[in-house]
Amino acid sequence: MLEIRDLDAAYGDIRVLSGVSLSVGPGEIVALLGPNGAGKSTLLTTIAGLLRPRAGAIRWQGDDLTALRPHLVVERGVALVPEGRRLFGTMTVEENLELGAFAARARHQRAAGFERVYALFPDLRDRRRQLVRALSGGQQQMVAVGRALMAQPALLMLDEPSLGIAPRLVAAIFAALAEINRAGVAVFLVEQNVQAALTLAHRAYVLESGRIASQGAAADVLRDPHVRRAYLGPLAVSRA
Amino acid sequence: MIARGERRWALGILLALVVLAFLPLAGPRDDILNFVFLILLSITLAQSWNIVAGYAGQVNLGHAAFFGLGALLARTLWIQGVPIVLAMVAGAALATAFALVIGAPAFRLRGAYFAIGTLALGEILRTTVSNVLPEISTLPAATIAGYRLTHRYYLALALAAASVVAVAALAGSRAGLGMQAIREDEEAAEASGVGALRLKLTALALSTALAGFAGGLFAYYHISYYPSHPFGPHWTFDALLMTFIGGVGTLQGPVLGAVLYVVLKEYLAVRWVDFHLLIFGALFIAIVLLLPGGLVQAQHAIIRALDRRRPR
């Protein structure tokens, strides 16, 4: 469904991605792991349309997504939950969610969208008139995921959803992601929390210095000693 | 150091000015002398604005204030009998003093705030002068009788030459390089110890001194005008326009821009008198958006294009 071929991306003179190729199939949960600065966020940003790649192709459901402006990418069914959430702090939970359904594909399904989000995150229903900036980090993350869901995406991309969030809420969010996936939405997840990500995902890629270093089924990647050493700490290796 | 290309330009321009010094000897008509005078005054005005914009990276939208202050004091003193050169020096000193008093705090403002702050400042001065001195300033009959255009002409030449030399010296000096650094990236320059504020104030002082001198020249040249007239924003805009057309931050840019502007304006004034400001406004906008480096940028682009075409 999502096919990325030989993608090169750069910020000014700094090359961030080199020849990246990967794919996300319908109904899959795919994780993207890697150290800080590897280019994971850049990859998501490029797919979402905020950054134009220097070379390579991004194909989504057969169409070329490469030079499309971000709001049109959302129209096509690809929604990004950006790093740091990037919510509209001066607006309420409800307004943020409502804006999530701005795209034409989602505009007439707002009511259904709200129901779905509140079913996944019951906390938000009670807080829907509250200003978003008054919420905790975990609740804000829920709003961010909800906002992206309101766009009725076929592919949901998330950039470090667990960053800075209490573990209990991380578990809740990941559970919600599993449920979203069960309903048919593909998920492409960039995560530092390798354990949680690989438990949830079907497949995974590892990005290092702008290139794909390894890939495979999530369970296999979890067992890979290099991955364990690099991302799960010394204890993890001995437990293998 | 000052780029080799620019050094050549500096010498070329100074040479041209030397040649122009002989113009009055050829006995031309007054209107030709007036025309060249206007170009020379414009060169000075444009170069003065260029110093702060091009070398210190700040947009001064109240530049006319310094032009006006120079004119005001110079005129007042000269009419009282002070020799014109001295009067002009006093005018320039007033302009510079005012700039430094306001400039030190004002330069703490980042780009936009400095621009609108100077805009407000210019308007404050214009309105104040307009209220305090509403009557037209005219020269006494004796002075009018003794009016020599050639005196004004040579002063204008000297001033234009001085402005070019000032910019050349600035660009080539350590101070100038420091300013370039600030213009490119203020924070990085600060971090590397460039002493931004001091450099900016130097640029401001030089810029406003030149503007003040130009104002004094204006006061010496015109027989009668409203004292608030030289404080009007269109003088600032003229300086902006000429500098942008030619190329901000270059030595030759303001000179080219001034020549082009005055020549074009004369031509347009003959046929399209009412629309020349519209045309220049449109030209300015086009340049800001499409060719921010002005003629100099265009020149470099053409040279590069020709280079590529040259058979190997």
Binding site: - | L61, A120, L121, E123, T127, P233, G281, I285
Partner: protein, 289 residues
Amino acid sequence: MSVLAQQLLLGLLIGGLYGLAAAGLSLVFGVMKVLDVAHGELIMLGGYAAFFAVAFLGLDPFGSLAVVIPVSLLFGAVLYLGLFAFVVRADEETRVKNSLLIGFGLALAFHALAVRLWTADERSIITPYGGSVLMVGDLAIPLVRLLSLLLAFLLIGGLHLLLARWRWGKAIRATAEDWQAALLTGIDVRRAYLLAFALGTGLAGAAGTLVSIAYSISPAIGLEWTLKALIVVVLAGLGSMIGTFVGGLVLGVAEAASAAAFGGAYREIVGLVIFVLVLIARPKGLFGR
């Protein structure tokens, strides 16, 4: 005492128009970081449009708003598409600088055009009830100015509602807060810019109409009103239309107070001096976000 109160009242009445003038500038700057220093010229043009709408179409002076506002909205859209759409292609810092330069040039061009078309004379729209005055105790409230204030308030209120309830109003607010997040949410940010700029121009046109009715217009008022708007925006900060309106009222009253204290000739200057002093005292900017 009542003379002072009268002065302050008059200051309040014009303050509402300052607020309206600032609202358009604030909206545009807040949303797309374009500082249109030609805003005052748009007000001036709006005033002339109203003047001629009344003169040639025989409209009621306040009724001319029904013509001037749509025309201004359209003009704003055209101005955006033809000019400022290109300015917003650059990053924020360049945008601000370019909009200042271009706005400055535009202001002078519009001014020259106005002088050419309509001469430098002052004009005012005469209303049949022009001289009427409402007496409240010792205070004489000029009816026309009171109506202008009320209309200004209504327009600001309307804008506030538009931004709060209208789908695109919310999109505009979202874009103002975080344009990248807005894009990721599916909002066509360029269209939000277009709408915001058109609205800003519409507000300018309305302000110009009210100025033309309650006071007078001439080509020279452009720069004056740009500065008033800038002062209010800098003092009141961005983000709240109501806050901007109140800021305008404050400026009006402050001007009146200092005119009473120092004499009328310096009324204009006081606001500007306060402006420069405030700018200098808070160098990191008052556009606190």
